[in-house]
Amino acid sequence: MARFKLTGGNIVREVMKNKILFLMLLPVLLYFLIFHYAVMPGAYVAFVDYNLNQGIFGSDFIGLKNFEFLIQNGDLWNITKNTLLYNLVFLVLGNIIQIVFAIMLSEISGKWFKKVSQSVILLPNFISMVIVGVFAYNMFNFNSGFINTLFAGAGLERYEFYSDPGIWKYIIVAFKIWAGTGYGMIIYLATITGINHDLYEAAYMDGATTWQRIRYMTLPILKPTFILLLLFGMGGILKGSFDLFYNLIGTNSVLYPQTDIIDTYVFRSLVGQFNFSMGAAVGFYQSLFGLILVLVVNFIVRKVEPDSALF
């Protein structure tokens, strides 16, 4: 941190010298100061009994009471568990599927097929999660959903998807994978196409089969990228995909036991119950542990692979 010596006289001289540069940076700086740094002290609301009229800093300080309450009623444990498990599945399963598709895409030779399929698989990455929610409705709603149309057509009974929490675990994971595979696949594919072509040529000359080439060359080359993405993913493992969960589950409380994550809980405490302090306590817990996780992960990455560390 010694690099950032901000002694008074120095900075004034610097600003005078580079007036225009500072002015050009100013809009972005103001943005971060207002929409990020000005918000941070507000995390204090987690430690008070928030009263709308008295504001954050005028409300009564109650210490860790909000946290105690959340631990006692089991909410904190439940949403933490759900967030962690979902993210773990998204991360591990998601990356494996992305790698498999990247390798398969690199093995095929049809140029046109390659191009079109790559574009198609990337398409879900570009639509809003609201549309994904519409897709889910289109497929799973009781009276007219596509799956129920099939069931009814086959003489089976219609299924109440929207009142079975168990099944949404799979639907959520399926949509997450559906939407995210293209993005990861392209990143892994870029790593594969970056492999020196001579290496493959040499392997081919030595009589290596396609499978051997994948097993002993491509996979080991992808390993560092995989581990890095996994590690950095771990750093964000407490951050939930709010837009996915909210658009699939919405306000259907029947499904909460298995689909409630930290972010949906905080959101509800804001708009549903107006319990600002409780929601903020959860939010603060998420931010703090998120920061610690990133620092730990970065520490590990710096030990293993210094070039890839974030800072």
Partner: protein, 298 residues
């Protein structure tokens, strides 16, 4: 020798075959919800009520679109809001971020590491939703203002660093010769760097525009007046509501029984996704460039 050659061939043919088939199947899975949405929007309401949404309906009907377009005040409104926030947000964001990227790339700018860290740190720690909400509503008075949907996402740390990295590719000698000619900093940025940075501006601008086009979250949090709802939030309410009449048109009297409730939901979704799907083939390669460059490291 003979045997291994045969093995090699059959093995690689098998892998190729499996690859082609799995990729084709997965690509179809990616397209399926879009196809189902489109065909559902063209379905006859009675058929949906009787049997449900289908991929291949027995008969096609344009009723949902006719109804939407003949009572389009609300939809047109939502479109206008979304176009407004997309254009203003993207232009404003690009201007702010390209200036910041330019400054942070200047080696003679002494505090660039400090400011970069200041920006970077916000990706590691955030105050959280609730303090943000209180700030936006109580202190910035942005409740029910269109700027509540523009300002929070106008710039992004990742995009600024991407911009800075793009600027790195522009040779310093250009800047040096311009300084010798007596051009000021802003002039150098505007006249030399911006024209050279057009491809990167296009990439980042597309990401930014896509974000604003898909915006619904801030609309849900901060907008009260239905006339100010963005397209995606309008759609979300439409799908979750059984009584659509109020959402479609407040003035005209529509016979509720005639309203193709189920197909109209899908027709709205088609109209909200349409522009993205139409533009996608043309802008897709910019996205891929952005994704691969961004992934390499910020």
């Amino acid at each position: 020798m003979e045997k291994t050659t045969i093995n090699q061939d059959s093995g690689s043919i098998l892998i190729k075959g499996v690859s082609y088939v799995s990729i084709a199947i997965f690509a179809l899975i990616c397209l399926f919800p879009f196809a189902l949405m489109i065909s559902s929007s063209f379905m006859n309401e009675q058929e949906i009520v009787r049997e449900g949404y289908k991929l291949l309906p027995a008969e096609f009907s344009f009723k949902a679109y006719e109804m939407l377009l003949s009572n389009s005040t609300k939809l047109v409104n939502a479109y206008q809001v979304t176009i407004f926030i997309t254009v203003v947000g993207t232009v404003l964001g690009l201007f702010m971020m390209s200036m910041a990227g330019f400054v942070l790339n200047r080696k003679d700018f002494k505090y660039r590491n400090f400011f970069s860290f200041l920006i970077y740190f916000t990706t590691l720690f955030s105050g959280g939703l609730i303090p943000t909400y209180i700030l936006m509503v109580k202190h910035l008075h942005l409740k029910d203002s269109l700027f509540a949907m523009i300002l929070p996402g106008v710039v992004g740390a990742w995009s600024i660093f991407l911009m800075r990295n793009f600027m790195k590719a522009i040779p310093d000698s250009l800047y040096e010769s311009a300084t010798i000619d007596g051009a000021g900093d802003f002039r150098i940025y505007w006249r030399i760097f911006i024209p050279l940075a057009v491809p990167s501006l296009a990439t980042i601008g597309l990401f930014s525009a896509l974000g604003f086009w898909n915006e619904w979250y801030n609309g849900m949090l901060y907008m009260d007046t239905p006339d100010k709802f963005p397209l995606q939030y309008f759609l979300q309410r439409m799908v979750n509501q059984t009584n659509l009449q109020a959402l479609i048109n407040s003035g005209a009297v529509i016979n509720t029984a005639d309203l193709p409730t189920q197909s109209i939901k899908m027709a709205t979704a088609v109209l909200a996704t349409g522009p993205i799907i139409l533009l996608y083939p043309f802008v897709q390669r910019y996205f891929v460039t952005g994704l691969t460059i961004g992934a390499v490291k910020g």
